[in-house]
């Protein structure tokens, strides 16, 4: 199957051996979108890699930006102002909403509910993208975070618009769940399909909602407590069965928690600068050393491993792609299921090829 693929997950190829319609062997083939992100990152300056991180996981440019900014800030020991940290939390949670909404749409598209759920999801996505656009200037490729803060301050009007969106989002989720969550066909197609055991999930390095759907309580927002997440109250939804339906439900519940975080953050955001006054745009050269910085992206743990040799370019620039590592267990999940189920399982893993292949 693939790499030109009727399910809308990009250029991903699976070599499937079938017995009748049952999958007996499945080998994923990667590299159809290998854009040499890491090589380019080693040949350009630290700042110049920032717009490239937008294009890793092109649904979640804000969290990619944050992960990279966080890794560099920790490597160089830069402080970040309070307002910028709040803005980062707000934008990361908006990204989570955006990603999970779209994922639900694509997953349902894969089950055969073509059109309607995806249309509704994209209707909401446009509202979030409008927010991103009016803040950062671009719909998808935000390029918003900088080392030591954020590029532009959010205006009061922007914060009011964000609050309005957040207040209306629960109603949308209610409608969406009414549309699809109780749907018997969806249940029949997804329950007990692609069951992932907690032991295998941990050993295979699965992160993000996929891991939590298997019942493992591991969320970097709680574990590492990066940014200002320890200041917010939220719960981590966990699944019981680790099947495709749980993976869908965990994401729906995570969105409800994200709305809670957004409300708290929008209420408490302080006034102040968004950029550390000592941070400089040009001529940024961290001292020699290495660091691995990671955050909880919507798809899982996204991390950046940087080795600095004291020059303006990183000596080694590595992205830890959650999508690629979550695909490790694709074959295990698909064995014994039909080919049509393999497409749903792939959809529930939530991959973006820009990040898988980089």
């Amino acid at each position: 199957m693939g790499p030109h693929h009727p399910s809308t997950h990009g250029v991903f190829r699976m070599m499937v051996t079938l017995d009748g319609e049952t999958v007996v062997k499945l080998k994923p083939v990667f590299g159809y979108l290998h854009r040499n992100h890491e090589k380019i990152g080693e040949n350009t300056t630290y700042l110049a890699s920032m717009p490239y991180t937008d294009r890793l996981d092109y649904f979640c440019s804000m969290t990619n930006n944050w992960a990279y900014a966080l890794a560099v800030e920790q490597l160089a020991g830069l402080p970040v102002p309070e307002r910028a940290e709040y803005l980062r939390v707000i934008l990361a949670e908006l990204t989570r909403l955006l990603n999970h909404t779209c994922l639900a749409g694509f997953l349902l598209q894969d089950t055969g509910a073509s059109g309607t759920p995806l249309m509704y999801a994209f209707r909401e996505r446009e509202k979030i993208l409008d927010l991103f656009e009016s803040l950062s200037g671009s719909r998808m490729m935000c390029n918003y975070q900088r080392f030591g803060g954020c590029r532009i301050d959010a205006t009061p009007e922007w914060l009011a618009a964000a609050r309005q969106l957040v207040n209306g989002y629960n109603a949308f989720l209610d409608e969406y769940e009414e549309l699809i969550t109780g749907n018997e066909i969806l249940m029949a197609r997804t329950q007990n399909v692609g069951v992932l055991s907690p032991a295998l999930a941990v050993n295979a390095g699965i992160t993000g909602p996929m891991l939590r759907a298997s019942g493992v309580d591991y969320d970097l927002r709680k574990v590492d407590g990066y940014g200002y997440y320890p200041r917010f109250e939220f719960r981590i939804p966990l699944g019981d069965h680790g099947d495709t339906y749980d993976r869908y439900m965990v994401r729906m519940l995570e969105m409800r928690e994200s709305i809670g975080i957004l409300r708290q953050a929008l209420d408490r955001i302080p006034e102040g600068p968004v950029m550390d006054p000592k941070a400089k745009i040009r001529g940024f050269k961290p001292k020699p050393g290495e660091h691995y910085g990671r955050i909880e992206g919507p798809k899982g743990e996204i991390g950046f491993y940087l080795i600095s040799d004291g020059t303006a370019n990183p000596y080694r620039y590595r992205v830890r792609p959650p999508s690629l590592i979550n695909l490790t267990i694709l074959e295990d999940l698909c064995l014994g299921h039909t080919l049509a189920d393999a497409v749903i399982i792939l959809g529930s893993i939530d991959i973006v090829l820009g990040e898988v292949d980089r």
Binding site: P3, T8, V11, L33, N36, K39, F122, D357
Partner: protein
Amino acid sequence: MTMSDATRPAINAQTSAPLSGPTDADRDELRRHGILLTSIQELANWGRSNSVWPLQFGLACCAIEMIAASMARFDIARFGSEVFRPSPRQADLLIVSGTVTKKMAPQVIRLWNQMPEPKYCIAMGACAISGGPFKQGYNVLKGIDRFIPVDVYIPGCPPRPEALLNGLIELQKNIRGRHIAGPAPVEADSPTAPGEYPVPAFGERDLEPTSNPKLWQPPVIVRPDKP
């Protein structure tokens, strides 16, 4: 009105005299008098331009904007192009939406070969046009027009969905200006040609060949050394 442009070397230059007929001004004048003048060519072009069915084919970031363009807000259906076909045999338009890597390029060309005539190609986004920001990469094809003819280029990274619609309008204009009879704009599209574009093979270091010289002849550009 002629289709030859710099990206497409005029191969049949000696036979490319455009068909003469009433100009647009003539038609407007006649329409004002209540006479609707049409020809087979115009009718065919009208039909073709208003039912351009794209191939459901996403490569990278721009594919998301392409999907966004087909959704409610931008609604590509208003231009008759909402029918995204999963099979190249049913599609008229290949929207190359994203970075074409060297590993993916043979597949893209194969898909293009499988599409029936008449077919059109839009290079959407910087990566599809020239490799874009990733042009420095070793696995990135520096422009899909090295291997297949492109009708419309839409720069941007990624282009807004409106920009894609704008490109589609450009393509529709382009289609309306085409001739049914006469020479094909590209040699490989002409009835005598084999109709297939050569698919490069995977080499040890690069694709072999790295471009299709019949299609891709960039102008020579020489930069003086910097003082």
